[in-house]
């Protein structure tokens, strides 16, 4: 991994910040860690969607599938 870092400022609404803090606690990550994970996840999902694949969730018990539409 490259050591070079660039800094940005992120302005969040109180509601967005509350969600970020909740996710950081649940995932045992810093708030920066959550934002970076979200970026990596979105890129991975977007790459699959660009290949024509669907983003699906499956209920382990009922096996019911639901599709998440990516914009």
């Amino acid at each position: 991994m490259s050591d070079e870092k660039r800094t940005m400022t992120l302005n969040l609404t109180p509601r967005e910040m509350a969600v970020l803090e909740e996710l950081a606690a649940a995932k045992d990550l810093s708030k920066t860690g959550v934002m970076k994970l979200a970026l990596r996840l979105l890129q991975a999902v977007d790459a699959k969607v660009r290949l024509g694949q669907k983003f699906l969730f499956e209920d382990e018990k009922t096996k019911e599938k639901s599709e998440l539409i990516m914009v």
Partner: protein, 200 residues
């Protein structure tokens, strides 16, 4: 690309030798895989029934690297010693833990880890180097800490490697995974990662 030092044991002299661990598989590493590793694997497999071939004999590292490495969520490592490729590893940092004590938290998941054919006791009576797997597991543990994942690591083990993750790495075995070719699934917790870091 960053390089760190790892140590492998020469099987013939039992001496420890320095190896270079690179945190990015480059085109030159893939060329080394094509020039020496892949032909050695093909030569060993020629004429052998499928059941007698190494379980990773079909892994195409160029295809894996080219498809996944442009993504931020994937990381790769190459281990070199004496100007030869000794091991390759591909990691995905987008999965979450299954073990109850760390359920839902992100972990570094080892997608693929392999040692070069000339280092495998099942392929050569006198393997060249031992310890590739240990260096690679050390690398994924450090990556997990760097990512803020507290050393959490997960992987599915090929049957021949199960004992290594269970007995050497002291990872927790969570049973065979029907959704993943029935391979055994292992996880490393923060405490296990710290213990792995401090092992002699």
């Amino acid at each position: 690309m960053n390089t760190s030092v790892g140590y492998l044991k020469r099987d013939d002299t039992r001496e420890m030798v320095e190896a270079s661990l690179l945190d990015e598989v480059s085109d030159s590493h893939l060329s080394m895989w094509e020039a020496s590793w892949s032909p050695a694997m093909q030569s060993f497999c020629a004429g052998r029934p499928l059941a007698d071939r190494p379980q990773d004999h079909h892994w195409d590292w160029r295809r894996k690297a080219e498809g996944l490495l442009p993504l931020l969520g994937y990381h790769s490592f190459a281990l070199l010693c004496q100007n030869e490729l000794q091991g390759l590893m591909l990691i995905n940092d987008l999965k979450s833990a299954r073990l109850a004590s760390q359920f839902g938290k992100p972990l570094a998941y080892v997608e693929f880890l392999a040692t070069a054919p000339w280092n495998r006791p099942e392929m050569h009576q006198r393997p060249r180097y031992r310890g590739v797997g240990t260096v690679m597991v050390g690398a994924v543990v450090e990556l997990s800490f760097e990512l803020g994942y507290s050393g959490r690591v997960g992987l599915h083990a090929l049957p021949a490697a199960e004992h290594f993750y269970r007995d050497t790495c002291k990872m927790t075995e969570l049973g065979k995974d029907a959704a993943h070719q029935n391979l055994m699934y292992f996880e490393m917790t923060e405490n296990q990662a710290e213990a792995f870091r401090q092992r002699p």
